[in-house]
C-alpha cells in the first residue's frame, strides 16, 4: 500500500486526467526544440563515423582492430557487455517494480524500456562484427543444412549468449510495445492531424479501453513481468559464463553471475537516472519525475554500489585465500598495482566510492550532482569490463605471450557509432512516443495524491 502521507504524492501540480494526457503528449505535437536538433545532428555524425568504421571492419577484416593472439577479446567485448548491462535496467526496472507493485515506476518505466531496446541493439552489433564474416552470422542458428546436418553446440556459453540476447531483445521490445498500445489510442483520439490519427491509429491496434481489453492487458503484463524477471537475471548470468567457464585467471570465478547481474542493474539504473534528469529538465516534467522519484533511484544506487564494493573485495580476498599464484598475480600485481592500476582504481572509485555520496540528502536532492554521479557510474562500469577483459588476457600464464593492447581508430569508431545510435534512438523516442505511460499515470493519480479524500470523490459513497 502506498502511503501518500509518508512518501508524498507521486504526481504533483494537482493534475486531472485530461492534463496528464495533454502534458505527456505535448512533445509529440510541438515542433522539436533547438537542443533536440543539435543533439540529433551530433548523434547522426557519430553514427556516420560508426558506419565508416563498420565498413572498414567488414571490408578489410578484424585485422583493422587492435586485437592480437593474446588479447583476442578486447574493445568490442567490453562495449558489448557494457551496453547489455545498460540494456538490463530497463526491464529490471519496470519488471521488478511491477512485480513488487511499486507505484513510482509509472513515470519512469516507459523511458527505461526504450533505453533497454536501443541499448540491446547497440550491444548486438559487437558480437556480430566480432564473428569476422558477419554475412555468415546465420551459422549460429540451429537449423538443418547441407553441412551435415551440422547442429550447434548447446554446451557453449557463446551459443547460450546468442539465444539469450536475441530472446531478450524480442521480449523487451514486445513488452515495451504492448505497454504503449493504450497510449497510442489516446493520441489517436485526441489529435486533430489526419496523418497522426492514421499512424497512431494503426499502431494502437484498435484499442478502445473496454473492460474486456483491460482485463487481458493486465493479465498479459503480469504474466510477461513474472517470467521476464527470470530472464533479466538469467541473461546477464549467461553473459558472465562467457568468461566464468574459461580457465583464464580473473575470469574463472563462481562469483561472476551475480556480480554481472548486479553490475548490469547498477549501470542501467545509473543510465535511467541520467535519462530521467534530462527528460525532467528538457521537457519540464518535474510534476511527473519528482525529486522523490530521483531520490528513490539514488537510494537503490547506494545499495547496489555497496554490493559492487563487496564483490570487488570478495574477488580479491578469494584470489589471496585460494593461494593460486596466477590469481594472486592477476588481482594484486597486475590489476591493483601493475600496468593497469589506473583502470583498476578508476573502477573502484567510480563504482564503490563515489556513489556513496548519495548517503547525503543534499546530494540526492541536487540534480546536477546526481547527474554527474550517474555519468561517473557508467564510466566506472565501462572500466570494470575493461579490467576484467583486458588485464586477464594481456598477462595470463606464459610471460612470453604477454602483450599490451590499445584500440585502433576503427574500434573506437564502432563504439562512437553505437553511442550515436543510442543518442539518435533515444531522441526519436522523445519525439514520437509518449515518454511516460499515460494510462498507468492516470491509474495511480488518485490513489497516491492528497486529493484522494476531496469532496468530489466521495460524494457518492
Amino acid at each position: 500500500m502506498y502511503k501518500t502521507e509518508v512518501r508524498g504524492p507521486l504526481i504533483l501540480g494537482d493534475k486531472n486526467y485530461h492534463q496528464i494526457s495533454t502534458d505527456i503528449i505535448a512533445p509529440i505535437n510541438q515542433p522539436v526544440p533547438l537542443w533536440w536538433k543539435v543533439a540529433f545532428g551530433i548523434s547522426n555524425l557519430a553514427l556516420l563515423f560508426g558506419l565508416v568504421a563498420i565498413y572498414q571492419t567488414v571490408s578489410v577484416g578484424i585485422g583493422t582492430w587492435g586485437v592480437n593472439n593474446s588479447v583476442g577479446w578486447a574493445w568490442e567485448i567490453i562495449n558489448f557487455v557494457w551496453w547489455i548491462g545498460i540494456g538490463h535496467a530497463g526491464t529490471a526496472f519496470s519488471i521488478f517494480l511491477l512485480v513488487l507493485r511499486q507505484k513510482w515506476r509509472t513515470s519512469i518505466n516507459r523511458a527505461a524500456e526504450a533505453m533497454t531496446v536501443v541499448a540491446v541493439m547497440c550491444a548486438a552489433i559487437f558480437p556480430a562484427l566480432h564473428m569476422g564474416r558477419v554475412w555468415l552470422a546465420f551459422y549460429i542458428f540451429p537449423y538443418p543444412n547441407t553441412r551435415g546436418p551440422l547442429w550447434v553446440n548447446y554446451n557453449s556459453p557463446l551459443f547460450w549468449d546468442f539465444i539469450a540476447i536475441s530472446a531478450y531483445l524480442l521480449i523487451s521490445a514486445s513488452f515495451w510495445y504492448f505497454g504503449m498500445v493504450p497510449d497510442f489510442a489516446t493520441i489517436r483520439d485526441r489529435t486533430t492531424s489526419k496523418i497522426k490519427k492514421a499512424v497512431y491509429g494503426f499502431f494502437a491496434f484498435g484499442w478502445v479501453g473496454t473492460s474486456r481489453e483491460w482485463l487481458r492487458f493486465e493479465a498479459l503484463s503480469y504474466v510477461l513481468g513474472g517470467i521476464a524477471a527470470v530472464l533479466v537475471v538469467s541473461v546477464h548470468s549467461i553473459v558472465s559464463t562467457d568468461f566464468a567457464v574459461s580457465v583464464i585467471p580473473g575470469w574463472h570465478t563462481t562469483v561472476f553471475p551475480p556480480y554481472f547481474v548486479v553490475g548490469a542493474i547498477f549501470s542501467g539504473f545509473a543510465m535511467v537516472m541520467t535519462l530521467m534528469i534530462i527528460i525532467r529538465k528538457m521537457y519540464k516534467f518535474q510534476d511527473y519525475v519528482t525529486s522523490s522519484h530521483l531520490n528513490a533511484i539514488a537510494k537503490i544506487l547506494i545499495f547496489i554500489s555497496l554490493i559492487m564494493g563487496t564483490a570487488y573485495a570478495t574477488e580479491a580476498f578469494i584470489a589471496w585465500y585460494s593461494g593460486n599464484r596466477y590469481e594472486i598475480f592477476t588481482f594484486f600485481y597486475n590489476r591493483a598495482t601493475g600496468d593497469y592500476s589506473i583502470e583498476y582504481w578508476t573502477m573502484i572509485i567510480c563504482n564503490a566510492i563515489v556513489p556513496q555520496l548519495f548517503w547525503f540528502k543534499k546530494i540526492r536532492k541536487n540534480l546536477t550532482a546526481a547527474f554527474i554521479i550517474s555519468i561517473i557510474i557508467n564510466i566506472g562500469m565501462w572500466f570494470e569490463r575493461y579490467n576484467i577483459i583486458i588485464t586477464s588476457l594481456a598477462k595470463d600464464f606464459l610471460p612470453s605471450s604477454w602483450v599490451t593492447y590499445s584500440p585502433t581508430w576503427v574500434e573506437i569508431g564502432v563504439f562512437v557509432g553505437t553511442l550515436g545510435l543510442f543518442g539518435a534512438g533515444v531522441l526519436l523516442f522523445f519525439k514520437f512516443i509518449p515518454m511516460m505511460a499515460i494510462s498507468e499515470l492516470k491509474g495511480i493519480l488518485k490513489v497516491t495524491s492528497y486529493n484522494t479524500n476531496d469532496k468530489k470523490h466521495i460524494s457518492h459513497e
Partner: protein, 175 residues
Amino acid sequence: MNNHFVVGVFDEEAQLMAAVNETQKQGFQIQEIYSPYPVYEAIEAMGKKTRFTFAAFLFGLFGALGVLAFMYYTAVIDWPINYGGKPTNAFPSFLVVTIVITILVVTIASLFTFSARAKIYPGKAYVLPDPRSTDDKFVMVFDKSANDSEYQRLAELLKAEGAVEVYEKNIEPEN
C-alpha cells in the same frame, strides 16, 4: 443487428462504480464499460474472468518440452558429436537454453493469445462510443433496444449517480 445505444459519461471512477452497482441492482444489462485506465471493480462487476495465467503455464510447458526434445533429437539422435568427452545428452547444460527459449515461447504465445482474446490487432475496425474515454472520461454503454421502455428511468438513474452526459447514439465501427 441493432446498434442503437445509450451512453453514460462519467468524470470519476467512484461515480462510475456507483452507477455500475446501481444499474445492475435495478436489472439493467451493461453492454460495455470504457475507461482510460484499468478499473478493477468495473472488470469484476462485468463478470469478466480470464484464464490467461493457465494458458501461459501451458505455453511454458509446451515450450520447455519442445525445446528439450529438439535438443535431444539434434544432439543425440540426428548428429551426435563428441565435445571433449562430454555425454551427447548433456542435460544440465541444456537447461540454460531451455529456460530462455521457454520464456520466449511464453511471451510470443501470450502476445498472440492477448491479441486474439482481447481482439487487438493491426487494422481493426474499432467501436468507440465516446472518444473521450481514452482521455479522461469513464463511459458506460447500454443496448437501447433491450431497455427501450425504461430508457427514461435509466437516463435519470445515470444522471442521479453523477453522469455528466447521457445520450443515445448509433454506433458504427470506425476506420
